[in-house]
């Protein structure tokens, strides 16, 4: 069951987690918006250590405004970067 739906504002959880993670550092703590619910997949953080990765985690395509990611960004303010982020790395966010 997906916790978030397309259009929902979310925030990537800040901070480090020990072990292997697929969430890029530059997105930690950043606000974004769910674009697509991609479905559940085995958790890569467990697969990385030879575990089954089950139960699957819901993966989302999340859009981030470029000017929230890069301090010296000079492009259009509505331009977005899209990244796939697992549900356990997301929390509800405010409007962006």
């Amino acid at each position: 069951m997906a916790r978030f739906a397309p259009g929902d504002p979310v925030r990537v959880r800040p901070g480090a987690k020990p072990g292997h993670v697929r969430t890029p550092d530059y997105l930690k703590g950043k606000p974004g918006r769910v674009e697509v619910v991609l479905g559940a997949y085995p958790n890569p953080e467990d697969l990385a250590y030879g575990l089954s990765g089950e139960p699957g985690r819901v993966l989302y395509k999340v859009g981030f405004r470029q000017d929230t990611l890069w301090p010296d960004y000079e492009g259009p303010s509505d331009e977005r970067l899209y990244a796939d982020v697992y549900e356990h790395w997301l929390e509800p966010g405010g409007e962006i």
């Binding site: 072990g19 292997h20 890029p24 550092d25 890569p44 697969l47 990385a48 250590y49 030879g50 990765g53």
Partner: protein, 93 residues
């Protein structure tokens, strides 16, 4: 790279060397036979202490070696012994 400055990007294309093709093929074969997964390989690559000193496929080969040893499929002694043997054959040829 890793959120840190990495200098200019080299955009020139290049032909893979033979050993790089072999590194790729060995990796694919090990995955197909269930000896390792892409996620394990990525984790092994990112945990290489000399990551920044290695080229792309040097990372691949080092990570594959690390996983095979970690899983007890080969030992470091076996791998180093075989590498030395191949080196000798190469130099004699």
């Amino acid at each position: 790279m890793g959120g840190e400055p990495a200098g200019p990007i080299d955009k020139k294309g290049h032909e893979p060397e033979d050993w790089e093709r072999i590194a790729d093929a060995v990796n694919a074969a090990l995955g197909k036979r269930g000896f390792q997964t892409t996620d394990e390989h990525r984790r092994a690559i990112e945990s290489l202490p000399n990551y920044r000193d290695l080229s792309y496929y040097e990372r691949w080969a080092s990570a594959t070696e690390k996983l095979l040893v970690e899983k007890g499929i080969l030992t470091k002694v076996e791998i180093d012994g075989r590498a030395a043997e191949i080196q000798r054959r190469w130099e004699d040829a």
